[in-house]
């Protein structure tokens, strides 16, 4: 359904959702936006883009899988294992950019299929995403139009808000989204024809403002990449890479993880099995216990990042594992620009 919400009523809407934990973008003492739990202070949606994507809330950087305790009584060893599945904690995330929501729908694919991830889904099923269409690209390196997305894409969202000046054009996209709106029925009005027109105009205008594009489209690019696995291109393009984890940790769709046992006490043996984000740009990501590393240099690691996103993922899911948010470009400390690299791939040998 489509509705209109006055901006000054946003706060009242959030208050009606008291059985949810509400996250919204906020500035925490620094210049950057990040999601925080909205309290009774005035949370508006006048943010640009959060440094950490919504991914961090549905797939947290650290997640406990199980707790273990080994006790010895009269030389009898007992091992207690307690699986930890996230409990009931319904969450609404306000202010999700369309690219980040599309990325969550990619994560949904990854954590389903043959291996349904119970930890991910326990959280995901109780998370409602309220998106905000971009009226102007939040970053100068946004390129969602090149990744089958748009500044007003609805994929992965439950509700999409479009800023019409003093009000939001509200479009519910799922049952969960409708539920949120129905809980505060009195705050929403029926849209007039001109509101609908204006929302469409905002969307069209926003698309025009996105200047960056990738030359080749999905299938074409994937095919081209496949032939360039052994190209010297990767050596050249990765020269300035410093092997930090910014491009991947802050990517809304990167999802690699590591599992470790964190031992709190040796006697009695007590600890937790923990999943944490991992990162293909770290040299130890592929390090074998023999000491051999099949991806020994920056070139092979940069190639892996691009191949995973634009080749392997396309083969498996017919989607690029990139939604064009531009974080990896804008936040790379040495200016490695994925669009440029992809275009060099496109131009290679032609």
């Amino acid at each position: 359904m489509e509705k209109i919400l006055e901006k000054r009523s946003l706060q009242s809407w959030m208050k009606k959702l008291d059985s949810w934990t509400i996250y919204a973008p906020r500035k925490d003492g620094s210049e950057r936006w990040n999601y925080g739990i909205a309290q009774n202070d005035s949370v508006g949606l006048n943010f640009t883009v959060t440094t950490l994507p919504a991914k961090a809330l549905v797939f947290p950087q650290r997640e406990v899988f199980l707790e273990f305790l080994k006790t010895v009584e009269e030389s009898q060893e007992t091992l207690k294992v307690n699986e930890v599945i996230p409990g009931k904690n319904p969450v609404v995330i306000f202010g999700v950019r369309p690219c980040d929501a599309r990325a969550v729908s990619l994560l949904d694919r990854v954590f389903s299929g043959d291996f349904v991830d119970p930890y991910y889904w326990a959280r995901r099923k109780q998370t409602v995403l309220v998106g905000l269409a971009c009226d102007t690209p939040p970053w100068e390196n946004c390129f969602c139009l090149s990744t089958e997305g748009s500044p007003h894409s609805e994929e992965g969202l439950d509700v999409l808000l479009t800023d019409l000046g003093d009000k939001y054009f509200v479009k519910t996209l799922t049952e969960n989204g409708e539920k949120l709106v129905n809980l505060a029925k009195g705050l929403f009005k029926e849209p007039r024809l001109e509101d609908k027109k204006k929302a469409k105009a905002v969307h069209a205008e926003a698309e025009k403002k996105i200047v960056r594009r990738v030359k080749r489209a999905k299938k074409d690019l994937a095919a081209k990449l496949k032939g360039l696995f052994d190209s010297p291109l990767w050596d050249d393009e990765s020269m300035s890479c410093i092997r930090c984890g910014i491009c991947t940790y802050l990517c809304p769709s990167c999802h690699c993880f590591d599992i470790n046992d964190e031992v709190d006490s040796v006697s009695p043996l007590r600890g937790k099995r923990v999943r944490t984000w991992d990162n293909c740009q770290f040299p130890d990501f592929t390090m074998h216990s023999s000491g051999h590393n099949p991806r020994p240099d920056k070139a092979s690691r940069l190639r892996q990042r691009l191949f995973h996103k634009f080749q392997y993922f396309v083969e498996i899911y017919d989607k690029t594992m990139c939604t064009g948010c531009g974080r990896c470009i804008s936040l790379c400390p040495v200016g490695i620009d994925i669009i440029n690299v992809l275009d060099k791939v496109s131009d290679h040998g032609s």
Binding site: D28, G29, S30, E31, R32, N34, T51, L52, Q61, R62, E140, N141, D236, M239, S240, I242, R243, C244, G245, I246, Y249, L250, D258, N260, E262, V263, V274, T276, W277, N279, F282, P283, D284, M287, S289, S290, G291, P296, D297, K298, I329, S330, L331, C332, P333, V334, G335, D337, I339, N340
Partner: protein
């Protein structure tokens, strides 16, 4: 303002004569206003080099990569690499030489003086421009910064846009170089540790709260470590593999390795990471500020290093990165070194 035409000519000549492998310099970035590092192998590409207050990176970090590359190669090309350095960056090279990590013959140093300028701070710039995108940033002839956006040209006093570390810099020009451009002049710095002093004036509890809040934000992307020319250890204690393994390492040895730090980005682990790093940089950090600039979450890591820089100066009269022949802080002692902190 230093002009790099002479340096470009020199770089072109060196490449043409095959005296250097490649040149590490700055080129216009494609992702925004900031310059990007560039690696130039052909003399005709020298034209791409730029020099302005957006050349923030400390390129000496790439000398660490070069060393590793040479170690990996069966028949390494041992020619030096050319490298563009500012004052701060040159001090990093001094430390690498002092620690014998690199040899003086490994580098051909093309120095540029910042004179009374320095490099631009991203957030200061964003605040000034209120959403407008800068197209060009230059140091004006009156020592001001000239910022060109799509529809206007604005001038600002350097203090309003330069990175804090530039405002506390004591080496505006390279302390070591093979060829240098620009004048050996300095801006007067009244309080080289002003920012640390401000931090120290905070009451203890407040300071604790501040650092806890800041370090809790850390996602351990290790950009601060990765961008640092001094963080060149083969094995870093915080990596999930921090035990050198060989074909003879037994399964027991691997299982029994001490895990100093967990991967979880939690308070305790983040404190361990940042403090271990700060201690390892004591008497080595030359305050290029790259760690803080690279941090995607704006954690003010530079303060930790700056604090230790001051301790080294006050306790041992040690100033880092000016003399490659000077013994390093942690590997030397003098009879009159203070020891009243030993209890």
């Amino acid at each position: 303002m230093a002009k790099i035409e002479d340096l470009k000519e020199e770089a072109r000549k060196l490449l043409r004569e095959g005296k250097i492998k490649y040149v590490i310099g700055y080129a216009a970035g494609t992702n925004g206003w900031m310059a990007s590092p560039i690696f130039i192998k052909k003399p005709e590409d020298v034209e791409k080099l730029v020099w302005d207050p957006t050349c923030v990176h400390n390129l000496s970090r790439f000398l660490v990569d070069e060393k590793r590359r040479k170690e990996r190669e069966k028949q390494p090309d041992k020619r030096p690499v050319g490298i563009f350095v500012k004052g701060c960056d040159s001090r990093a090279i001094v430390v690498l030489l002092q620690e014998k990590f690199i040899d003086r013959n490994d580098v051909y140093i093309l120095g540029i003086s910042c004179e009374k300028g320095g490099v631009v701070d991203e957030h200061k710039l964003a605040r000034k421009l209120e959403g407008k995108k800068p197209k060009k940033i230059e140091l004006g002839d009156k020592g001001q910064l000239v910022v060109t956006t799509a529809n206007r040209k604005a001038e600002f006093p350097v203090e309003e846009l330069l990175a804090e570390r530039c405002l506390e810099c004591r080496a505006n020009f390279p302390v070591i170089s093979d060829i240098m451009s620009g004048e050996k002049i300095k801006r007067t710095v009244e309080k080289p540790f002003g920012s640390v002093e401000k931090m120290e004036r905070m009451p203890k509890e407040e300071r604790w709260r501040f650092w806890k809040e800041q370090l809790d934000k850390c996602i351990r992307c290790y950009a601060c470590r990765s961008v640092c020319p001094m963080c060149y250890c083969d094995e870093c204690v915080v990596d999930s593999i921090n035990l050198a393994v060989s074909a003879d390492t037994t399964a027991e040895e691997k299982a029994d390795k001490v895990k100093w730090i967990q991967r979880s980005a939690e308070s305790s682990e983040n404190f361990v990471y940042h403090f271990v790093r700060a201690i390892h940089l004591a008497g080595r950090c030359i305050d290029c500020g790259e760690c803080e600039r690279a941090c995607p979450l704006d954690i003010p890591v530079r303060f930790l290093n700056k604090k230790l820089e001051r301790e080294a100066k006050e306790l041992f009269g040690y100033e880092v990165g000016f003399d490659p022949a000077q013994p390093s802080l942690v590997s030397s002692f003098r009879d009159d070194d203070p020891e009243d902190f030993i209890r």
